[in-house]
Amino acid sequence: MSTEIMASANAEARAVTGAGPEARAMDLLRFATAGSVDDGKSTLIGRLLYDTKSLFTDQLAAVEAVSAARGDEYTNLALLTDGLRAEREQGITIDVAYRYFATPRRKFIIADTPGHIQYTRNMVTGASTADLALILVDARKGLVEQSRRHAFLCSLLRVPHLVLCVNKMDLVDWSQEVYEQIADEFTAFAAKLDAPDLTVVPISALRGDNIVTRSENMPWYEGPSLLHHLERVHIASDRNLVDVRFPVQYVIRPQSTTVTDYRGYAGQVASGVLKTGDEVMVLPSGFTSRIAAVETADGPVAEAFPPMSVTVRLADEIDISRGDLICRPNNAPAVAQDIEAMVCWMDETAPLRVGGRYAIKHTTRSARAIVRGLHYRLDINSLHRDESADELRLNEIGRVRLRTTVPLLADEYRRNRTTGGFVIIDEATNRTVGAAMIVEAT
């Protein structure tokens, strides 16, 4: 996007979307983007930041200066997010960059990840916390291997909302036919993946069509602009409010003369709604009690639900420590040492091998695990399962069976992204080497 185009971008739209002092009741949406510079991803992000007044003149001036010095034909907005020296020198995006913008309705956190297959682990990382994922395709090229791979990773990580942006519509004469063919093909593919809510938007990131306001160049498109969709997509119901899961993070016991006999279990609600008086069960012990109070530093609250960080007090004195989990007696996670999981391997130095021993971190619980089996390695482009595989290398994904030293208090990942996910850590290097999504726990 050239500076002139950016400078002329929607003065009126900015007035609408600027996050002013009134912006206090807005909520938070985290979204991940994946793609390469060729897809116009950086232009799109630059456009969103610029049109919401989140791009600053000194940032833009710095990027323009560097672009000019490198002889780029246009201001290379990728330089905004490529923050590391190595990235700028090599002209590539290595890592996840977090960007922020806000409108009066919502605050947005963008996890901007590189799209190439050698950065699968970065995309998995970005998608792990995302409410929504934005996939870009070039209208001239249609769906490519990379688009399918991104859609698959989003479904693997259970990102609840998917948006396909068909970009560069200006270069296909704003053709409804081109758009519909891509939209239909992607919709059919997403259905096979059991992908959740899908929205398709035809855009031109460079020209600003369907980004903040509806495009006049595509009157045949009746859906919302991208920002309109991002601002209004309903995310509250994505949270699991049914299964009460409260991993105990820390036990608060003041050593004080003014507060005596206080014992509170601090943590962040993973799912469900906790209320005073509720009958609860503590795992792994299985003891039951009642919630005496749900507290915050600002006083007691009637209910706690995700993502609140609270302190729970129980009516009975039970021995509870970090790593235990509070749930309801009739709705408990598995207490399991045999874990079937999809694993994305993230270490370049050594592959995951059958027989390998690792440390794991699952909610607030740490354990050790041994790899008992590798059922298959998945080709994330073709989704072909290679059952002859005997290891997983960097960026490879496969279905793995593990046995843990202590029971995990676990749910299936598809039902609960917090109690269903864990990380694998190399005990010698302390590096995080794998991300696991539980398929079955027994």
Binding site: G18, A19, P21, R24, M26, D27, L28, F56, T57, D58, L80, T81, D82, G83, R85, R88, D95, A97, R99, Y100, A102, K107, I109, N122, V124, T125, S128, T129, A236, R239, Q249, Y250, I252, P254, Q255, S256, V259, A266, G267, T296, A297, D298, V301, A302, F305, P307, M308, S309, T311, A359, K361, H362, T364, G421, F422, V423, I425, N430, R431, T432
Partner: protein, 303 residues
């Protein structure tokens, strides 16, 4: 605030919940945490979050001030008052003492930003701190935009941007060998505007220099520097009085003020929402050295 009927939380509540979770993880898993407290607005917000995370117990770790010796008196006064109110243990890592003992030497330009690093690392080693809470935010600077919430540092305090641990879901990996440490950034996902909205909502008092006041300044590179014992005007630089406030509070020899009439928190929020220049771009002489100035300092162990 929260609307229990719809089971939705505001963005400030979501950010607060995340920061509290991060702080509790650190206290649960690390041996000797410390909170870096400069008296700046971000560390002040961080201290409030620490109070909330462990209430009704006291904050279970000390705070450390890396004191360059170039302080705004209002900020030092605020620091001491806050520490006393909360009954905290304060560790001062003094650059002036380190200069006297020969640990570091004054840099040619007189700025002490860069020589803070060895002083910080020395204090970390002496007190055997293994987790350091810092108030850095990812929106501040593009190297910070790529840093993890739990940022691993080797035994020399160095950050290796190409060798960072993947950070998934809310599972933070704080494992380290003796001598290594973790910098923890609970405010990673907050923006300058979020910080100000939170200060307003929580009615958090700040050092007075964050609000508009009259001060004798000079103008250099489009920034306004206060004339004081640490900052000497160069020949030809004219002193004049102006209505200013500080957007960031750092070393008094290299932190500049901005022209402002915002003398209340509400007016500051309006100003921050309307500004078109980043806070570091508007106020920090030290970031202008090169395109990668911050990344280079962080590699050396800067926070």
């Amino acid at each position: 605030m929260t609307t229990p009927a719809a089971y939705q939380v505001s963005h400030l509540d979501a950010l607060e919940a995340e920061s509290i979770f991060v702080m509790r993880e650190v206290v649960a898993e690390m041996e000797r945490p410390v909170l870096l407290f400069s008296g700046g607005k971000d560390s002040i917000v961080m201290l409030r979050l620490a109070q909330k995370a462990f209430a009704p117990a006291n904050i279970p770790f000390p705070v450390m001030h890396v004191d360059t010796g170039h302080n705004f008196p209002e900020v030092l006064e605020y620091r001491d008052q806050r520490v006393a109110e909360l009954g905290l243990q304060l560790v001062v890592a003094s650059v002036s003492e380190a200069l006297a003992s020969g640990l570091v030497r004054e840099s040619a330009d007189g700025m002490r930003n860069r020589i803070q690093t060895p002083v910080l690392l020395d204090a970390v080693e002496k007190h055997r701190f293994d987790a350091l809470f810092g108030g850095a935010r990812r929106d501040e600077e593009k190297a910070r935009a790529k840093e993890r919430v739990f940022s691993f540092r080797d035994e020399f305090g160095q950050w290796d941007p190409k060798n960072q641990r993947p950070e998934l879901w809310s599972l933070y990996n704080g494992r380290h060998h003796p001598g290594e440490s973790i910098r923890v950034f609970p405010l990673s996902n907050w923006t300058e505007l979020d910080i100000w909205h939170y200060i307003a909502r929580e009615r958090i008092p700040l050092p007075s220099i964050y609000y508009a006041h009259e001060r004798e300044v000079i103008e250099r590179d489009g920034m306004f520097y206060a004339v004081n014992e640490f900052f000497r005007p160069r020949a030809g630089e004219e002193r004049f009085k102006a209505q200013v406030r500080y957007r960031t509070v750092g070393d008094a020899s290299c932190t500049a003020a901005v022209r402002s009439d915002a003398d209340t928190v509400e007016k500051v929020i309006e100003e921050v929402a309307a500004t078109r220049i980043t806070e570091r771009g508007a106020t920090r002489g030290d970031d202008r050295v090169s395109e990668a100035a911050m990344e280079d300092r962080k590699r050396e162990g800067y926070f």
